[in-house]
């Protein structure tokens, strides 16, 4: 992921790349490894063409399904409320639920502690995804991979950052990222070219780059604020 992102950045910035560039979407996870993780679930849940209600609802076709929508399954009131609110099982909601069920659905009946390891969750999700609709047959079916690059409109890229506003916003960044550009465990972002900065921050915001703290920081920033930060860090110390 990281390598392909960096390569993509180089290309975006007009590097003299020749031939067919390698830019690939990122797989959700390894479905074969996920089949091993599935053992944690299979005591209660069934999956596959003949899956039925067991202790838990069947998980065939879970992607794109409204929560609490398997007829005949006695869901918790919490889960029913989620369903009525229109929440849909997706990569994001499933990942959050599997990580810690009670964080997403407080009163869930699912007796599962949660799965802390993000790789195991990703592999499990990749396994589960194989039992839901295929986008080739049903184009609106859930994605089967994660995009390699943030998709930014020309308008977003063209925003001219307000460096003064960026300086103000940057106080949050410089708690960790050193203004002088020193690189001790936390990478330097000082004097980064603006476009690289904007692309990287949007990649975090769109959860394409994996670092959870950066995802959280970026998720709170508007397009203008990202541009402002980029403008500030690009000129810092000059």
């Amino acid at each position: 992921m990281r390598e392909s992102f960096i390569l993509a950045l180089v290309l975006t910035l007009g590097g003299v790349g020749q031939g067919v560039a390698e830019e690939t979407a990122q797989a959700i996870g390894d479905p074969e490894a996920g089949a091993d993780v599935w053992i944690l679930c299979s005591g209660c849940h069934q999956i596959g063409p003949d899956a039925e209600i067991g202790i838990g609802p069947p998980l065939s076709g879970i992607f794109g399904r409204r929560m609490a929508s398997v007829e005949g399954f006695p869901y918790s009131r919490s889960m029913m409320r989620m369903g009525r609110d229109g929440l849909i099982w997706s990569l994001e909601t499933l990942d959050a639920y599997i990580e810690n069920p009670r964080v997403l659905v407080s009163g869930t009946r699912m007796g599962f502690e949660g799965l802390e390891d993000p790789t195991e969750r990703a592999d499990l999700l990749a396994f589960l995804r194989e039992f839901s609709d295929k986008p080739s047959n049903i184009p609106e079916a859930a994605p089967t991979a994660l995009a390699a690059l943030p998709t930014l409109s020309d308008e977003t890229l063209a925003i001219v950052g307000d460096a003064a506003y960026g300086e103000y916003l940057a106080s949050e960044c410089t708690t960790c990222h050193q203004r002088d550009g020193s690189d001790r465990g936390i990478p330097s972002i000082t004097l980064w070219p603006e476009e690289n900065f904007v692309l990287a921050m949007h990649a975090y915001k769109q959860k394409l780059r994996p670092h959870p703290v950066m995802q959280m920081m970026a998720s709170r920033l508007s397009d203008e604020e990202i541009a402002a930060l980029a403008a500030y860090f690009a000129t810092l110390g000059r």
């Binding site: 067919v20 609709d133 080739s136 994660l146 390699a148």
Partner: protein, 421 residues
């Protein structure tokens, strides 16, 4: 030797191309032969000719002189388009872009000699071959139906005379008669297409023959835009459409074209019009050329659309196994641009950028009631993977639906210009 920018940029790949893909002997320019002039083939021909500016010799082999787009052919059935508005010819590709358009059938591919042979007896050498033959039907897919019976029970899944025939049959239905569709199993050309067709047939019958019935026998439990179509049928054509999924025998169907009967899970229905859309496979020439696998379709390398069977051949559109991409004109057009870029890079050393694919399928449910589904895709090593998408929602207001329909008109004008110039 003076270095100019072009030769500098081009050197690395041109050398690579020279080693891996020697030009056919005796040819001045590298040559691309394209089999099939639909959304994939015509787009590829235009883009390679346009962007190589004469550096590549482009030959497009297409049997028909007038091409009727499958997309929007349902709108012709519904009375929203004239037939001539979905008809296109290849004059612009020849005159404006210098494409050598050959109206002939390719009947064989010699992959070792890198030549194709045609029904008229010609042999044409290629450096790269692009195969874009669309679909053919699987023999025996619907018991009782065959190509010989396609006038009694039209498929109308390749546009033109079949579409005209089906429209005429619908308009000639007796009062209160029955229209039956035998819907195809996955995978097939245009996932929402059968259901847009049902909508268009219902639109015609509501005007001309409001007591008529529409019966759909479907082997699939679920189809694209299902909730949108079902909502629309209920709203616009209340009580007219009966859809039988596999739970009601929709997957166990045989037909008798002479008796005009359809047997759905043992229950025999007399029908007035029967639109049989059989199971599909890659266009026959793809199989002849050895490009298909056991599925009947062609595996491809996602980043370049090269055949997994032969690196000198690219396959486009409905004939491919394009990962998460549906079989649609939009998809084929999108894939053609990726392939055109890869072909030019291989033959002339031009720059190639990362493959990006997209698709949108618009469907019309009734007058000014348009819906759409779309997605963007990226190549992984194994497949073209869906990474994002959108779909119209149930309960949208009339203004949005009208805007969606109008957007589809713009798209039609755009894609046909992108194909034919």
């Amino acid at each position: 030797m003076t270095l100019n920018r072009r030769s500098f940029l081009g050197t690395g790949l041109a050398l690579g191309a020279a080693l891996s893909a020697p030009r056919a002997i005796g040819q001045a320019k590298p040559r691309v032969v394209i089999v099939g002039g639909g959304a994939g083939g015509a787009t590829a021909a235009r883009y390679i000719a346009k962007d190589s500016q004469g550096a590549i010799d482009v030959i497009l082999i297409e049997p028909t002189r007038t091409y009727y787009t499958c997309f929007f052919s349902n709108l012709y059935i519904g009375g929203f388009r004239e037939l001539n508005s979905i008809a296109h010819n290849y004059g612009g590709l020849a005159s404006e872009y210098g494409v050598n358009v050959v109206h002939d059938w390719v009947i064989g591919v010699d992959r070792d000699a890198k030549t194709v042979s045609t029904a008229a007896g010609h042999s044409l050498a290629y450096d790269r071959l692009i195969v874009a033959p669309g679909i053919d039907f699987v023999d025996g897919a619907v018991p009782g139906w065959s190509t010989a019976a396609q006038n009694k029970m039209p498929h109308s899944w390749k546009a033109g005379s079949q579409t005209q025939l089906l429209k005429a049959q619908i308009e000639a239905m007796p009062e209160g008669g029955t229209f039956c569709m035998v819907a195809p199993p996955n995978p097939y050309r245009c996932p929402p297409g059968p259901y847009e067709r049902i909508s268009m047939v219902a639109h015609v019958l509501k005007e001309r023959n409001p007591t008529a019935k529409i019966l759909v026998a479907d082997p699939k439990p679920k189809f694209s835009k299902m909730a949108l179509f079902q909502e629309g049928w209920e709203r616009h054509y209340t009580g007219m459409v009966e859809w039988l999924g596999p739970d009601f025998g929709g997957g166990n169907v045989s037909v008798d074209p002479d008796a005009m009967t359809v047997d759905i899970d043992g229950s025999v229905e007399k029908v007035d019009v029967c639109n049989v859309i059989p199971a599909q496979k890659a266009g026959h020439i793809a199989q002849v050329a050895g490009l298909t696998d056991a599925s009947g379709f062609c595996p491809i390398v996602p980043a370049t659309m090269q055949s997994r069977m032969d690196e000198n051949i690219h396959v486009l559109g409905d004939a491919t196994i394009a990962g998460d991409m549906p079989k649609s004109g939009f998809s084929a057009n999108s894939q053609a641009k990726v392939a055109a870029m890869a072909v030019r890079a291989a033959l002339t050393g031009s720059r190639a950028f990362p493959a990006k694919f997209s698709n949108t399928c618009w469907s019309l449910i009734d007058t000014d009631d348009g819906v759409k589904v779309g997605a963007s895709y990226q190549a992984t090593e194994e497949k073209i993977a869906k990474v994002d998408g959108f779909i119209s929602q149930t309960g949208e207001d009339a203004a949005l639906r009208k805007a969606t329909y109008e957007e589809s008109l713009g798209w039609y004008a755009g894609i046909t210009a992108d194909m034919f110039g």
